[in-house]
Amino acid sequence: MKQIITLTVNKEIYEIAVAPNRTLTQALREDLNLLGTKEGCGIGDCGACTVILDGRPVNSCLILAVQANGSEITTIEGVANGRDLHPLQEAFVEHGAIQCGFCTPGMVLSAKSLIEKNQNPTELEIREALSGNLCRCTGYQKIVEAVKIASENMKK
């Protein structure tokens, strides 16, 4: 039996009917057509599906849509302000933190939730915060650098 749930995604309120086994990733991608959230494994290993749920980064593939009922979610589509990139996104673009880009939405959201809590993250803190987000392309270095630079730019 489908169930009606309410999600606030990127500040918009949505009411959708979902089957009990539908994951939050599926609800976002297929019901809300927010395709920026990626699925790399579907079982919580890669972090490509990371979204921010009530202030915490979570693997949306591990959460059932019904469990997210009533919560507030930020996906990659909600990070930029219209045409203005978030400082994290600016830094990712400028400093070569993107290659294939498949891990990028998840990386940005994990990083965003880190710097919202910690405005001065050390390299190790950044690496720890991103350690649940796998990237096969970059070797992480330029991602870590971009997060550091963004955190500094945001203080200015």
């Binding site: 991608r29 927010l34 395709l35 920026g36 959230t37 990626k38 699925e39 790399g40 494994c41 579907g42 079982i43 919580g44 290993d45 890669c46 490509a48 996906t75 990659i76 589509e77 990070v79 930029a80 990139l85 996104q89 990712f92 673009v93 400028e94 400093h95 070569g96 993107i98 290659q99 294939c100 880009g101 498949f102 891990c103 990028t104 939405p105 940005v108 950044i126 690496r127 720890e128 991103l130 350690s131 649940g132 987000n133 796998l134 990237c135 096969r136 392309c137 970059t138 070797g139 992480y140 270095q141 330029k142 991602i143 870590v144």
Partner: protein, 783 residues
Amino acid sequence: MKEFNVINSRVPRVDARAKVTGDARYTADLSMPNMLYGALLQSPHAHAKILNIDTSAAKKLIGVKEVVTAKEASPIKFGLSPARYDEMMFCMEKVRYVGDEIAAVAAVDPDTAMEAISLIKVDYEELPAYFNIFDAMKEGAMLIHDDYPGNINAEVHQEFGNVEEAFKQCDYIRTDKFVNKKQDGAFIEPQACLANYDMDGNLILYSSTQAPHYVQRILSMVLNVPIGKVRVVKPYVGGGFGPKASASTLELTACFLSMKTGRPVKMVFNREQVFMHSRARHQFFHELTTGVKKDGTLVALKNTCYLDGGAYSSFGIATIYYAGSLLGAPYKLPNMKYDGYRVCTNTPTCGAQRGHGGVAARAAWEQQLDIIAEELKMDPVEFRLKNIMQRGDVTCNDFNMSSLGMKECLEAVRDGSEWGKKKGKLPKGKGIGVACGFFVSGAGYPIYRSDTFHSTAMIKLSEDGGTADLYTASAEIGQGSDTILSMIAAEAMGIRYENVKIHSGDTDFGVDLGAYSSRQTLMSGHAVKMAGEDVKRQVLGVLSNTLKIPIEDMDIKDGFIIFKKGNVDFSGLRSYYIKEHRGWTDQPAGDKLTFKEAARIAYLEKGVVVGGGAYKPGELGGKYKGATVGTSPAYGCSAQVVEVTVDMETGKITVDNMTDAHDCGFAINRTNVEGQMQGSLSMGLGEALFEEVKFDPNGKVANATLGEYRIPTALDMPNVKTIIVESDEPNGPFGAKEVGEGAIMPTIPAILNAVYDAVGVRINELPITSERIFMALKDKEKK
């Protein structure tokens, strides 16, 4: 020093904004009206006869639109190299590995498709299955393919010089064995595709492929659709590293189901299927014998290699050659013998992966060279420098080093890592190691025998002259080719990067063999450069007529026309442009004639301003059998120094520092070059320290998740010091050559050599787990 406006800079990637905002569309993001979902039935057995397939229950399920097996599908065999086409869309008589495809379903939604799959009943008769090459090669072992006696899929025997004679002149000879494990590509985007066969008989396939051109040919051949009616489009791809370079049953099935149902069909692998499909790194068993003179001169190498290729050939025919041909260089080595055997087993098919065929061989040899240097009491860097090749040298297997900054790379990492201060001086448990690497910059020959161009490009100017649309069939898979090619186009035309709009990854845009063998920068880059120069010549030609100035007295740079002989009165031309451009907001101003104005004038005269370029390497390399594999218009090379800490109690290894230098000929985009180096190093570090595809007793992948199959995380990677060496390759566009794969070569052996320096044990089986170190330390104590 040449002056450039666009290339050799650090401009951001053309696709960075799309990717960072979630706008970039990958194949799994696509859908079409009225679309069906496909699913595959894959074998639970590693080797079994198919006695009967009953699809009746599946067909009856509501929502199922089509069920297909080998009975309905094309019996035409396909694969990678025509000499070994041994795959079929669906298994006919038997299955050869856990995951082999037997049937497929198209249904209205994924759940229904999966349910239908579970309703297909297959009767099997299990056959003896072989999960390693030794069992597969045993006398009397059952053949996995009738065509491969002894389960030997391919053999290669090559000798250059005379190795036995040469060994007689050596002062020191040693033999070592080495083995790696199967590595998975572990790209984060699982394979996906979406096919549509329309009412007019046009087949379009969107696929997460690295090689649209090869996929197009295979679709045409197997499905019997004229090649001109087959279009393969590659949306953004989430990494490939080799395994996505071959046409697959997934792609063929989606197309076939669409042809049968008349509706678009989408199919997506889950992560377990990615592991089962594999096509990733082979397992290599190398035995190397190297002979040297007392003074450290390398004299001869004998290399025997057995490759575990899994169930089918795929890229394996190239792999087996690469496992031999990529050794020798970057050192002067007059005598080399290679015997290679690729063996079929009942495991997922292996194929190409970053550093194709050469990674294990390189690890084995560079470790052995380190041992030899120690025996000769020579510093490993000095030993390597003594034997290094330079620009203009030719290897014994006829590879021409048209550029080679190997010496510069070695010296750069020696100095950049403070080798002299550290080697032999670090406390116990800490170690430093060095290694070199070497790789092709594009396969010199296509995978099928042909005189085809390897890359074509077309540039069309917009009517206002403000935008250059670049069309290429090249494959952006994350490596950055769209950015590199846009930069090359801009530089060649003399315009700004932001005025180039690239359209790529579509077989309708031309011919391009794709993203494999590190070929896009050099080969697609050549075609694009030619197209850009063609456009420039045409624009200047029209300008020359209009202004009555010889072409040679003009140039285009940074979006402006340069009059070499001083000022020219172009006011007539400008007013004409402004009149033409009435009502638009971006009118030209300033005291320089813009490219845009000139291009508009060219348009008004010609109507169509299109430039073309097409590249194929000339005749290259030797004439011996197999000379086509490893022969390349240019070779990249690299050196690396790695520092490690080994916990003497637990054997745990931490990589503390990596210093890497790579000769990419000329860096088109410096940030991208570093990115390729850093990414290569992380894949190498993973393979060295923990990556290993494991199998259960039935031949099923036992760790088919990204949790159990561990790849490096942000916490595993140290910061890498990247040093770009530029040797100006004469056969490359603007002097550029590869960086995408060669950079991985030195990583594993540099780690191995550092581990030895730290704890005094040599490990000749990957991955270098704590357990292996611990056991080796125990063994050493005993001695």
